[in-house]
Symmetry: C2
Subunit: 251 residues, 2 copies
């Protein structure tokens, strides 16, 4: 099995490097890396149409290669597969992200969007995130994924697997929960500041409000569970289609 | 009714300016504009977390205001509504985009993502695109939207309306079709070139292959119909949820 790794924290981020170490060196998988050449968090599913993409090759072991790309996570996946930078992968894993990717926030996520790009190109895809911006030990999360990879691959469907792990030592994890995407709600989103020339600007931030729903990914992570969510790629609202057809037929 | 206009082609793009002219001046709606200060096509649902957002105010008539923002389309919607740049709108319209936003391509679209951000913030939202990169007359599309706005608002659901109009004179339009999102497939995606210093780079482009499905937005536009698609915001794959729960319970 040939695995493509990508992320949105950049090629040299500890999350993806630890995942490579665990999958390729400890577990013997064939692994290629095609990842952005720097931080691309919150770039969503953006792609680069108005600028060239430069590629820097890094050595990995044996015949598998690592490439750092001057674009977005989705550019990386497209260039890897459609641009044939690497042999066609059997599996794409995006991550391990530093920070959660939960609920409606996945629309903003470069990590999840890279996995969605894999789905659009017909590759089974998993997005993996460590649900903390501070906790730095990615090894337990990488080991957990490696241990359960075959189990997760049996879940194959037409979408992606969104996996979030507690940003805590493994003995504090409460187990695995299958969840739906919750609604990420923030408070105090924009901070107003003044630049050295006296011009007003806004800085986007905000604190997430706790989720009170019982079955969401947000709630699972609040309670230190591992959250796994099936995510699909068809944004058509089929429930509305027939009603719309009826109303608009009168037109 | 107070309408917020945004887009991804930038504040001064003819599509949004024509739409403002038709909605505010010809039809008397209260309209605010909060749009990027330049071209932001294909930025998807990206948001700006690591840079400040600057705001330039432009005069519109009476008490409604226009703001050009140094960020993405989704930043504009968040800043307009969560940052309270303008009074809370009753409706968000994103566009009129120069170029189609159809099928799986809507993941990349700044235009559709801005409308999706509206949905996430509880505002009824419409994304409007003129399905040509060359045809420059936005007036018929803007007039069509104004004429049918009340009808479209009756379709209210929890998602957004994705509207694409043929990039042709109105007498060539074949009517309105309610569609599902198709699968946008491209050929010859990456062109390899060499820069003046001899470095290899890739430029992303590609030509879309025709869609043979009968009920998609892609097909409707191929046949010069107006396409209207109900788009939802919940990426959870509920069909897989119970199966996953069963499989993973054994773990």
């Amino acid at each position: 099995m040939h695995i493509l790794l990508t992320n949105d924290d950049g090629y040299f981020a500890p999350g993806i490097q630890t995942l490579y170490e665990v999958l390729a060196n400890h577990n013997g998988y064939d692994v290629s890396i095609v990842a952005p050449d720097g931080q691309r968090s919150a770039t969503g599913h953006s792609i680069t149409l108005f600028n060239p993409l430069f590629v820097t090759e890094h050595l990995l072991k044996e015949s598998f290669k690592g490439f750092a790309i001057s674009g977005t996570p989705s550019d990386c996946v497209k260039l890897a597969i459609q641009g044939e930078l690497i042999p066609k992968p059997d599996l794409l894993i995006s991550g391990i992200n530093q920070g959660p990717n939960l609920g409606t926030d996945i629309f903003y996520s470069g990590t999840v969007s890279a996995a969605m790009e894999g789905v659009l190109l017909g590759i089974p895809s998993i997005a993996v995130s460590l649900a903390s911006f501070e906790y730095q030990d990615f090894e337990p999360a990488a080991a957990y994924l490696a241990e359960n990879l075959n189990l997760f691959l049996k879940l194959n469907h037409k979408g992606l697997i969104n996996l979030n792990l507690p940003g805590k030592p493994r003995h504090e994890w409460q187990g695995l929960k299958v969840t739906r995407l919750g609604k990420a709600v923030y408070e105090n989103i924009f901070e107003q500041r003044t630049d050295p020339r006296g011009r007003l600007y806004y800085w986007q931030s905000g604190t997430m409000t706790p989720d009170n729903e019982s079955d969401t990914d947000l709630r699972a992570i609040q309670e230190d569970f591992i959250s796994i969510t099936p995510v699909h790629s068809d944004l058509t609202d089929y429930a509305s289609l027939s009603f719309w057809t009826e109303v608009l037929a009168k037109k």
